[in-house]
Structure formats: C-alpha cells, structure tokens
Symmetry: C2
Subunit: 119 residues, 2 copies
DNA sequence: CGCAATATGCAAATCAGTTGCATATTTATT
DNA sequence: AATAAATATGCAACTGATTTGCATATTGCG
C-alpha cells in the first residue's frame, strides 16, 4: 500500500487535527463542501486503518472521528449529548481488569452520565 | 407505557436469555425467521429502554444485544472477532477516572487485543 | 515529461434501522 | 366468555449512513 499525499487528503486530516473534539463524516463534509462525501469516507477509513485517527462509536447514528493526540476516553452526557474527553491511568485500570489470558492492546473506557452543565 | 407480554416478545427475550454472548437483530432474525425483523428491532429497542437487555456497540456495523445478567465489560479479539465478557471492580475504576464534574451513571470498558486461542 | 499507481467524483447500490398504516393479539372490563 | 380499548405485529416503503463500480484526474517515480 503506497499512499499519496494529496491536497484533499491533507485538508481532511488538518480539519480533524485542528478541531477540538470529534467529527462525523458529515460534519467534515459540511466544513469542506468542496470535497465529495465519498472521498471523505475513504480517507477516514484510510486514516483509521493507519491509526492516524480514531473512529469512535458511541451508539449514535453516525461514527465519530478524531485525530489521535494521545489515547484517551470518552464520557457521553445523556442529557446534552456532548462528548467529553478525559485521560485516565490506563496501566492501573489494566491491572484492575485482570485479563490474564488476553493480550490487551487497547483499553477504552466509555462513561455515560450527566455533565456538570446539565444537572 | 403499558407493555404487553406477547408470545413473540417472550420468544425474543428467551432467545437472548439463553444465548451465551451477544446477538445482533439479524442474528436473532436468523434464529427466529418466523418473527418479522421489524418486530425484533422494536422489541430490542423496548427491552433496551426498559434496561432488560443491553445494547453494545463495538464499532462493528451492527449493534449487539445481550441479556443483562450483571453489568460487565467486553474484550474484542482482533484476530478471531470473538467477544469475551469479564467483570471488573467498577468502583475502583471510577475512582481512577477522576471525573469530578460528571455524574457517572455507567462505566463501560472495552478492550481490544488478542485472545489466548489466537496467539 | 511520461507512465504507472493511486485518488477522486458521480451515480447507483447496499445495509442497518425506522415509519405509516392496516390487521391481529392482548388485557382490562363487563 | 364476549367486548372494547390499548398495544403489537407484518408488510411495504422510506431514511440515512456508508460502500462500490467505473470513468477521469492527480501524484510521484524514473
């Protein structure tokens, strides 16, 4: 697989990089209407496979994508639907899980609840 | 909301109860071809709202459902695609997360890696 | 520059999940 | 047990996200 650094590819990635939070394919298309939605999908898949970005699926209708700064977790507010990002001591959590016969590559903690603004 | 205990509703729930692991709407429809897929969707939504079952979303194309025995977490093997269930000390994990301004209702830990049979 | 490989756009397809509506089943009430 | 109101089901058709096929355009190497 020999990837090319096309203009549109860079624009899509920069949009994700500079955006604080997650974006769906559609969100990106709204920001970049000059790029076909299919191209956006193909590049998001590509970046995800290359682990440049992360696809997150919180059970909403659309998949969300974010530039992978440092691994972190997500809290979904059931009231305002906002996604909050937070980090946690993954190593300590891994120890608590006690998965002896499983080679853990990635831990993702998803929290559901109510954010400070909503209660 | 006044629910009725219909035959098909019971059959769908029993299928989930007796199945060890998760099932998608489609999986259930294959097991119960006599029940319309729409009825299955509607009942899965209902059971989920009533917290009788749990909808889990591992980033695959279809949502998965499972009868809610006791809350637990999931590990997805990237090699064999099997879903492993495990429990963890949720209270201790919650403390590690340090989400001060967020009312945590539910913690879900999803692990990705390789299971013992696959490495 | 010229060519081969890869990317893009458009149209059309697919796939999961949802909705409208007519009919059937359940449950509370006689 | 019969009736009526409420709720559930099936079918067809729809929606919205994502994917695929194919012709054309762009990129990167020699």
């Amino acid at each position: 697989m020999n990837l090319k650094l096309t203009k549109k590819r860079q624009i899509i990635l920069n949009t994700l990089k500079s955006h604080d939070g997650t974006l769906s394919a559609n969100d990106i298309h709204k920001l970049l209407p000059e790029i076909d939605i299919v191209t956006i999908y193909r590049n998001l898949d590509l970046f995800t496979k290359e682990k440049i970005i992360k696809q997150i699926n919180l059970g909403t209708n659309e998949a969300q994508y974010e530039y992978q700064q440092q691994p972190h977790h997500h809290a979904l507010c059931s009231s305002c639907e906002k996604v909050i990002h937070f980090t946690a001591p993954d190593e300590k959590i891994r120890e608590l899980l006690g998965l002896k016969d499983f080679q853990v590559d990635e831990i993702e903690v998803t929290v559901k609840g109510i954010c400070s603004k909503s209660h």
